[in-house]
Symmetry: D2
Subunit: 371 residues, 4 copies
């Protein structure tokens, strides 16, 4: 780890800051090469994709929350006359729409499925509990901003990253028509399935409940050899990047868990030569061999848990502020009724975060010099 | 990443070296506190668990390879009068049983499902191809040695790690009797299921094929708050640690991919207070909240692919050594018949590696000082 | 190194950003423990000490530049209700007084003694040349802000850092009266010597020239054992921290270069016991033994070069924008007359930077957990 | 810092291990590119230069100790058929000549000027006290081995590093004839001055005392732009590398401390163009501008303290093993008479260590990819 867990990457690194209801969120990107075209417009476009409350047609939709603020990004350094200078790029987004009162009762009462309790213990009770503070999904805003810069670098090299929802609320996409991803509120590659996902999500909203799903990501145009044995394998760093996203509970590459039931004779991707160059006959491995990119498309999936903020009353504990004879903080059982505004299914908003983290992983490896 | 991918960990770090058929394999452990009891016997005991060809009753068994060498470890530094001194602990295992001739035809011909091709490209053709060289599963020997030292530190803190095979060759364990793990060649917590797994593996051996499986790991006694937001979440680092193991293609924590089909009202782990202390009513999260250990048992699973070395002829490519007009190395289609000695199912040998990597992740976080 | 050179520290780390004439400068502090008292007032007080153009009595003085802007700091994250939360602390200072026109002729003409030429080559000509951009002394503003947070942590532990000018423009302080440091414009522990330094600096100003000097720093109250063998010795990291300050050309600890002419019988610091505790009879080592703090005061000195921006015409080169047949950028000889506002002697302004970097080094080691 | 201080470098990294009287010393080099010619002969040649007790003519000489062992290096991994493979290179040197009895009385008695006391406190009394254990100068053997590999990489790029003694026992070299460095036991670029240094060292030996000195290092052929602002400046990392050598107490680059008394008009290195390329008129900066290599020769000096092991009786403290009511370990005053074999002046043996550490710093920067 980096020890101070708010930096991701070594050669192309992003250090993020900010709480859900603090003054601002943002990041410093360090290691970006000089001479890359960059502007606030480019980054804003990426941020707008993760903005709450927006479907591609601009209407509020079933999948996402009602919080709608500008999330306007400002470049503070590292860009001069429209190009990067090789110095740190600081990005900032001011918070403009805090409803802190919604969270007034959460200073000592811990929401089930959230980081409230573990943060309270780890940081000795010193935490910004408003909207989950640092552990809020809003932290991913800084990741998307950083990822947008990485994407500029990858675009130069012809690398394309596309993520999409393949399952939500128990309903699967039945095709992979990438042209449809931005045509529906779920960011699914199947408009028809997306409509059914949306209907199911509406039912859950009415019931005060929430849903999870699965996101798939494909990377096209990656050169052979990205990744660093033995521990910094490409798939290892992708797994870390994905599990570092709050709601993600699982990662698999290529055939993933299905490979556990396969046989070597089926699972191996044989090769043949075409015009003197190697070609894979299949891609069960998902584009990685021995932790290095193989030149085949990189394909992986992540499991997204249901939104923990639901509107049904839940049993939880409250720290009383007293201490036992053994010095331990004391807790009492209580019931919690969450208020405020919340997503029902995170998939469509996590899609750009998955793309951003993937871009950060690849940019970091691309700048690794082994010659 | 660490940039030079052969180091894992920041506070408790392990740097490994060695190839399958080189002079020796080993590691340097840096950051281990002073005063911890350590001896070659303690490490050797862990190494023996991953030794090829051994079942708990000492008989060669169906699951693993025929390569049987001593793998005797030597401590070169960092231990004085039976205790660690806080200085680097260097461990070494000399290779004593190389059958290099088995690999004579693999210098330019790339085994399907192995790292041969990607290494050949990444390192410009300079590689030790014997037995897969650095990409051989034998590299995990150094991880297990390092993990044995980490386990000494964790034992001091009352933390216990147990991994076991829950599925192999398409057959699942039907119970979790941890007392049976070392009683069968699969390291399954279910002797009866293990017998059926073994029978299926024997069939595959006869057919010249191989199998995969799923390993589960449980961590008991972990304190609340291990993990570092936002990127070095405990589950993120576990995912990286697991995917850094060659044959692992997937990771999930708690309900994992099943959580994608669950609802917030089901998936949230509610809490209540007992004697003033918080208790979780369930453990769908797998012992992690917001990337920090919650005090509940940590439970995760990894998907293990089938052994790529099979004894059926396979189509692959061979680098001819010539170069095209565009300067590109040229390849030709060829057929490969693998010889030598190989596992049929890696699960029982990966079980100690999963435990070792988990110990390394936890030791690293335990030594993270946030006060 | 950190690879992306804008982060300093591992456990208590600071990542800085910003150019002299950009939108803002600032930093992210990561790893600061939760619960430490912090406010904009505390940081502002430190920033004001390095502000240009101010002597302790508030009057403009001989030693420093005429650029006078507020340098008002804003805390963007990581502090809640007056205390740190253990999450990243982002600090920002907006630039409010840019005279970019002063630098209009410096895009391709390189000032002697400055980083202009090396940056131009390293970053392929993509650089913010206004006021030196990233290489400006103004970058130290972010270090002082970060150091102010570290100092809050050190104060908790009873560690006190004091730096002061012991030589400037060839004139030495003749005593070490620390109470006089903030009483004179040179920050010398000797008001009388400071007056003579000031007079000499006025002469140099009139002649369009500049001066260097030597700064000494003493650390009191440091516990025994800070530092990490073999490479991260306390004095090694202090040396790095000091040489990372633009104008610093030398570092020595304890007797430093004088020790080269000493003898073992003189240079060794013998010990005796008082009330059962060890006491050093002397401190030739400067408070460090084997790279670890010894409990004695830590004393070191840094050499500060003369300000490179002088008002005499200087010969230098200009990049013409053309390229030779070998593809090399072409340069021509030219004469440069620097305009704008500049320091004559940097010592008084580097004193707080030396203190800040020392605080960052010590905070980083203090949070290193070896148990 | 790296947190575990036994690794140096990020892109080209060396992790060292071993104690003076342990089983072996050595290192793992990670990040060395594939395809570089390497053999035990090449590394052995470098190790022989730091071997104790050898002058260029092979005779024992005045400057160095009587300990004479083979220090035979073995390559354990990372080299195949005479070339590096891009995987970790493990190097090992077995200890063969331990006279542990010489150190029997040093387990609780702390030698003045050594790391004994600080290590004893830091590591809670768990330390290998024999010959200083990990803090022995013998640890530099692993640095020289690692530096020899870095030197192979630098030689490919036309970079040449040369260090030499310019002052010892108060006597200075009066010329810089690099051809004479290996012609005298002091490794001075002036045979005549070396003879006088040697004579003075003989006097000190007879008196049971020891001497210090100054080593200068010059780097030729370094490209423009090595170094990473703001903190990982080339001179900052060189300073750290040098102060990480046990006996070094000071570092200066270019004019160093002399620059503190200079003026801007003198100290600035003006430039002019020759055949369209920039040329420096002088080199007061020592080859570094703004922390980046400028293309001029890199020149720096280090101060070496007198050997702390002297044969005069010295007052010191002994830990009694008892503890006070406050739980503090108790110490008593004692007199120490050091026995065994020791250097009188370290300069000639530190010369290869300075070269090795310089090679490690440069190799690390050379592999930093900023494009």
């Amino acid at each position: 780890m980096k020890n101070n867990g708010n930096t991701f990457g070594t050669n192309f690194s992003v250090t993020t800051f900010g709480e859900s209801h603090g003054v601002a969120l943002g990041c410093i990107i360090d290691g970006c090469p000089a001479g890359i075209e960059l502007s606030e417009e480019i980054i804003q476009k990426a941020l707008n994709r993760r903005r709450p409350g927006l479907s591609p047609d601009g209407k509020l939709n079933a999948a996402v929350t009602a919080r709608t603020e500008a999330d306007a990004v400002e470049i503070l350094s590292g860009v001069f006359e429209g190009r990067t200078t090789g110095t740190p790029i600081a990005l900032e987004v001011r918070n403009t729409s805090q409803h802190s009162k919604d969270y007034g009762n959460l200073d000592l009462t811990f929401r089930p499925g959230h980081a409230d309790y573990t943060y309270d213990v780890k940081y000795g009770g010193c935490r910004d509990y408003r909207g989950g503070g640092r552990s809020s999904g809003r932290e991913t805003l800084a990741r998307v901003a950083g990822g947008a810069v990485a994407a500029q670098l990858l675009a130069q090299r012809g690398i394309k990253i596309t993520a999409y929802t393949i399952r939500a609320a128990g309903i699967s996409a039945e095709k992979r028509d990438l042209s449809q991803i931005e045509q529906n509120a779920l960011r699914a590659p199947d408009n028809e399935a997306a409509a059914r996902m949306n209907a199911k999500i509406e039912e859950l909203r009415a019931a005060g409940d929430s849903a999870g799903g699965i996101i798939e990501c494909i990377v096209q145009g990656c050169p052979v050899g990205l990744g660093e044995p033995a521990f910094d394998k490409l798939d290892a760093n992708l797994a870390k990047a994905m599990l570092s996203i709050g709601a993600v509970k699982g990662f698999e590459i290529g055939d993933g868990f299905a490979a556990a039931d396969s046989f070597g004779s089926t699972n191996n991707d044989c090769m043949h030569a075409e015009n003197g160059q190697p070609v894979f006959d299949s891609n069960h491995a998902g584009g990685v061999l021995g932790g290095l990119s193989s030149g085949a498309d990189i394909i992986f999936r992540v499991a997204v848990k249901p939104v923990p903020s639901i509107f049904k009353p839940q049993q939880t504990v409250r720290r009383t502020g007293e201490f036992g004879e053994d010095g331990k903080a004391q807790y009492e059982t209580t019931e919690l009724q969450i208020k405020g505004r919340h997503d029902i299914c995170l998939c469509p908003r996590i899609v750009p975060v998955v793309e951003a983290m993937t871009a950060l992983v690849l940019a970091d490896f691309l700048l690794r010099n082994t010659h």
